[in-house]
């Protein structure tokens, strides 16, 4: 689905990512773990086009067409494409920090994710971009998935931290995609909500979604991931199945500090 080859990125003198290569396989949940400053979020930003790579390549296989928003195709080099172009190839992501549209309602936040017809001025002026029953339906459905049905008309800024997280997760899932990236979906949320989010991920996995995940909560990571990539100092230290990683002495030393 996604291949990163020899990615390099420095910020001033700090080498955030140095020659990082790994692969994300279709229909699996891959977890990217590592100590703070290992370069995980930078890798996410490189993949989604928010920061430009100094060197290296990112190849993305849009495996199937998921909506009218998609152009699809095989093995596209997405290195240094714009975030909107990459999104339209079928990539969706959740940020580490809340990035909801704070002055809009939950419903409007979600409607914005469904398609890009809203950027066509004349079509909207002439009233030809209606909020169809179909769109309403998919919003109801996604809000049910994240257990936020009664918050449809709330303004995003009034939500609690955990609720914002759920709406953002819903927005990322609703954004047409074949590949979903989640940057610390459960950081700072309470244990009950953590379980809700874990169940959502397992539900997505059952639907054959391909997910790349950054997470510090090891219990959470090992309970949902199929494959784990451990990063340290901008490089891939080791990768493997969760059971192998759990007992790998290198990982224990680098990450768990034992």
């Amino acid at each position: 689905m996604l291949t990163c080859l020899q990615l390099v990125k420095s910020f001033g003198g700090v080498k955030a990512v140095q020659s990082c290569s790994f692969e994300v396989k279709s229909n699996l949940i891959t977890a990217l773990i590592g100590p703070n400053g290992a370069g995980k979020s930078t890798v996410f930003n490189l993949i989604s086009g928010i920061v430009k790579a100094d060197a290296g390549k990112i190849i993305f296989q849009a495996s199937k067409q998921v909506s009218s928003k998609q152009v699809g195709g095989e093995g596209i080099n997405i290195t240094n494409k714009s975030p909107e172009a990459i999104s339209n190839l079928g990539m969706s992501r959740l940020f580490q920090k809340s990035r909801l549209f704070n002055n809009l309602t939950v419903k409007d936040n979600l409607l914005l994710a469904i398609d890009n017809e809203d950027t066509k001025f004349l079509k909207n002026l002439l009233g030809k971009n209606k909020i169809t029953k179909e769109k309403e339906g998919s919003i109801k459905q996604i809000l049910k998935l994240v257990e936020m049905e009664s918050f449809e008309n709330h303004i995003a800024r009034d939500l609690s931290f955990g609720q914002k997280r759920l709406v953002e997760l819903a927005r990322a899932i609703l954004n047409p995609h074949t590949f979903l990236m989640l940057d610390e979906p459960v950081a700072g949320v309470n244990p009950k909500l953590r379980e809700v989010i874990a169940n959502i991920l397992l539900e997505l996995k059952a639907k054959q979604e391909t997910i790349l995940l950054i997470e510090h909560d090891m219990h959470f990571t090992f309970s949902v991931a199929d494959w784990v990539v451990v990063m340290q100092e901008g490089k891939v230290l080791v990768e493997g199945k969760p059971d192998e990683i759990k007992n790998n002495p290198k990982v224990l030393e680098a990450y768990l500090g034992e």
Binding site: S48, I50, K69, S82, P83, E84, S87, N88, S92, R93, F95, R99, L100, F101, N102, N103, L104, D108, N109, L111, L112, A113, N116, E117, D118, T119, K120, F121, N124, L125, G127, N129, I131, R157, R171, N175
Partner: protein, 290 residues
Amino acid sequence: MIEAYFIHLLILVGIYAILAISLQLAVGFSGLLNLGHIAFYCIGAYTSALLALQGLPFWFCFLAAGFMAMVFGFLLSLPTNKLKGDYLALATLGFSFVVTAVALNWTGLTRGPLGLPGIPKPSFFGFSFANNFWFLILVLIIATASYLIIKRIIQSPFGKALEATRDDELATRVLGKNTLKLKSYSLAISAFFAGIAGSLYASYITFIDPSSFSLMQLIPVLCIVIIGGLASLKGTIIATVVLTLLPEPLRFIGFPSSVVGPMRQIIYSLLLLLILIYRPRGFFGKIELE
């Protein structure tokens, strides 16, 4: 007498309302702190006046004013599109200085500081709006139409996309939207309405010169947008009425005209200060900017 005075005030309210709601579209709904808005008003007024002086019909001058301003709005958006907040404000402010300087110095076209006198009053297929009452009706119709069109824009999904760009541009891009296009459109549409407001102003006053479009003329409009409340069209209209009419009673309590002008500035700044302290969102402001 008093009737004519009220009609005059209401015409100004109408023109200012168009100018303010169009600025609200850029500032409140799209997050573009555009200090060059008065330049679009200027471009519209000059375009309309110059064409009208050539004997062209009003409807043509009026639309040409809007389109000319729109073209400049779009052109201004190209180099400034990646600027954020204060930097955009500075760049657009620079643009308004350039436009005033051109109006002052391109004497062959604009007659510079001498201004353009004798701009014809509008007439529509033989019906003349030279009478101020009929001009007021015309202004009210155009202002209402502008209000309805902008309202339609901001309530449509396109308007939500503008608001999303204002709230978090990066998140909007990650959803696959071309925010540069959204911002260009917003600035161009906003400029269009400023342009037609300029056309109405030129054909109402029948004389324009560069001093009518200085930065000092932008400040009341910006005050209206902030006092009315960001991202509220209703608030903008109410603020336009209040701020245009508020200084007027001064004339009746014996202040000479030379005092009324500066007093107006003082009243605006006091009101702005009070609003910012006690009601930071303005009359009906819906949003908080981070």
